[in-house]
Amino acid sequence: MTIEELEQIAKSVLQENEKYDFEVNVCMDLACMSQGADRLREALAKAAETSGKKILVRRTGCMGPCSSGPLVRVDPEEHLYHHVKAGNADAIVASLGGAPVPDLQCDLNDHFDKQVRVVLENAGHIDPEKIDDYISRDGYKALLTALTEMTPNGVVHRITESGLRGRGGGGYPTGLKWGTVAKAGGDMKYVVCNGDEGDPGAFMDRSVMEGDPHRVIEGMAIAAYAVGASKGFIYVRAEYPVAVSRLTTALRDARRRGLLGNGICNTPFNFDIEIRLGAGAFVCGEETALLASIEGRRGTPRTRPPYPAVSGLWGKPTLLNNVETYANIAPIIRNGGKWFANMGSERSKGTKVFALTGKITNTGLVEVPMGIKLREIIEGIGGGVPGGHTFKAVQTGGPSGGCIPAEMLDLGVSYDALMAVGSIMGSGGMIVMDDTSCMVNVAKFFVEFCKSESCGKCIPCRAGTAQMHTLLTRICDGKGTMEDLDLLVSLCETIKETSLCGLGMTAPNPVLSTLKYFRNEYIEHIVNKRCPAGVCTMEAPVPEAPVEVLA
C-alpha cells in the first residue's frame, strides 16, 4: 500500500457514491439501536429499492444527540430527522429531492453550533465496517505520511508540539510519554490501547471504537512507529460486544489492505494488534492493573516506578494510552501540531468528547473545544434541565471525580480548572443532576461502587472505602451525627494520601466535593433527619455498632 494507492481507493469510493443522488445515513449506535434503528434501516433500504431513485442507505456510528434517536440524516441536503420509526421510511424516501418531512425534522442548531469535531469527525458519515469509507475521508493517510516522510523522532516532536494530553483522565502530556518509551532500550516494545471504559456514565470510547474503529488502529500504528514497537493490544471491556466485533472486522480489513502486518507501506515497519477482553473490573483502567490483566492475571495494580514506559507488559517498555488519545493522533499528523495547539485553552489543547447524561434535555455525545464554559455545554448544547426542575450539580470524572454546583457553571473546562474545584476531567462522563437528586445519596452511590471495585491489595482503599460507606449509609438513614462528618473528612484525607493507586486516591473525591458544596444537605440529614430531595427514606434499620477497622 502506498499513498497513491490510498488516494486511488478514496477516489473510487467517491465515484461509487456519486452514482447515487441521495445518501440516507442511519445512526446505528447502541442508543438508536435500542429504539429500533435496525428495523428502520431495513425499511429504508426496502423503500429505497422500490422508489426508483438512486439512494444509498448507509449505517453509521453515533451522530450525537441520542435522546432524539433513532436519527436519520439525509445528504446532500443535510436534513436531520429525529425519533424516526420504521413506518416513516416511505415518507422519507418519497420526500427526497423535494421538501423535507416536516414532522420529523429537528432543530438542533444550538446543539451542534458550539461543537468542534476532531475525534468525531467521521461519526455519522462513514460505515464503521467499511475500511474504504474511512480511507475516503483521509483515513490512513497520516500513517503512510509518518512512515514515508517522517522520522520516529519527528512524530514524537509533532505530538509534543500539539500539546495533546492523555484523554483517559490523568492529563499526562502524550508527547512526553511517547518520548520516554521511544528512548527506552530493548528490542521488544508494546503499544497498548486502554478501552476499558469502566467509568459508569461514560460511553465516549465505546462510540469511537464502534463508530470509527480504524481511527484507533491508525493512531496506535503511528504510535508504534514513533516509539519503535511492533506489537499492540487493545484492551476492551467485555460489556461492549459491538465494539469488539467492529474492531475485529477493522483489524482484519487493515491486515488485508497491508496497513497492519509486516513491511507496512514497503517500509521495514512491522506492526500488528490483538484484542484482549476485559472481564468487568473497574480497577483495570489503572495502567499497571490493565497490564496485569492482559498478562492473564488478576487486575491488581503495583507500585510505580518503574512506570510501564520503562517496564510494562512482560517487563518490556510499553506505551499505554486511552482510546480517545489515539483517536486524536491521525488528525494531528495530518494537520500539524500547531493546528491542534490553536484549539483549546492555555494548558489544555484540542477538543474533548463528553458523554452528556442524566437530567438534561439533549443526552448524547458532544465534542467541544477545551476551555468552553460548563454553562455552554449544559444549557446551550445540552438544552438545560427538562421538566421544570432546577439544575443542582454536574458530576464529572465518574467515581474518581466530583460534583460541581450551579455557582461554578461559568468555569472553563480544562484539566487544571476541574482539578482546582475538587473534580477531575476523567474520561469524559458528564452527569447532570437536578433538585430531585440527593447529593449525600450520590456520594454514597459512588463510594459503594469504589468499595465493591477496590481490588483489596492496599488497606486504605479496601478498608477505607468500606468505612466511608458505613458512615454515609448512617447519614442517609438519618442516624448520623455531626462528629461523623469530621470523621468522614479525616478518613477521606487518609485514603487520598495513602492509597496505592488512582482508584483509592480519588475515591474520596465525590464525598469531599459534595461536602464542600452541599454541606447543607448533609446537615439537613443529620440534624433534621430530612432528605431535601426526598430520596433517602430515613427508616432503614442500621446496626448501632461503632465503626470498626476491618483491616
Partner: protein, 165 residues
Amino acid sequence: MAAFTPPPLPSDDKRWKIVNGTMRKNGFARHALIETLHTVQSAFGYLDDDSIRFVARSLRVPLSQAYGVVTFYHYFSLKPPGKHTVTVCAGTACYIKGADKLIATAEKRLGISQGQTTSDGEISLMTARCVGACSRAPVVLFDGEVSGEMASEHMLEQLERWTVA
C-alpha cells in the same frame, strides 16, 4: 525436557473443542487464561470446577491462580444462568434516573435478590456496572437486548411474557 502434552478434553461435548481452539490459537500460553475463560463462559454459560481445572491444567497455571482470576472479575459466573436473564444497568446515569427502583421492583416480582436465579431456573436477575447506553437511561437488558428509558410497568410486562411462555 519432555514436551508438554495438554490434558485430554473432559468429555465428548463439542464445546470443549472450541475452548481448546482458543488455547491452541494462543499457543497454550499462560497469558491466555482470561481469553480462555471467556470462551468457556460463552460456550457453557458459566464456569464450573471441571472447566476451571481443565483450563488451568492445559495452560499450566496453578489452580489457585485460575480460581483467583475467576473470582476477581465480575464478568465470570460460577453459577449456571437461568433460561432468561434480565439485567438492570446500575451505572451512574441509570441510578440517577431510578435504576434502584427497577431493581427493587424486579426483586419483588421474582422473589429473588440481584445475582440470583428463580428456583425453577427460568429467570436470572443481574445488575451491570454500565453498558454504555447512558444517554437512554435507565437501561434494562432482556437476554442481552438493550431497552432504554425503561419504566417499571414495561419491565414487568416483559417478565410476565417470559413467565407465561
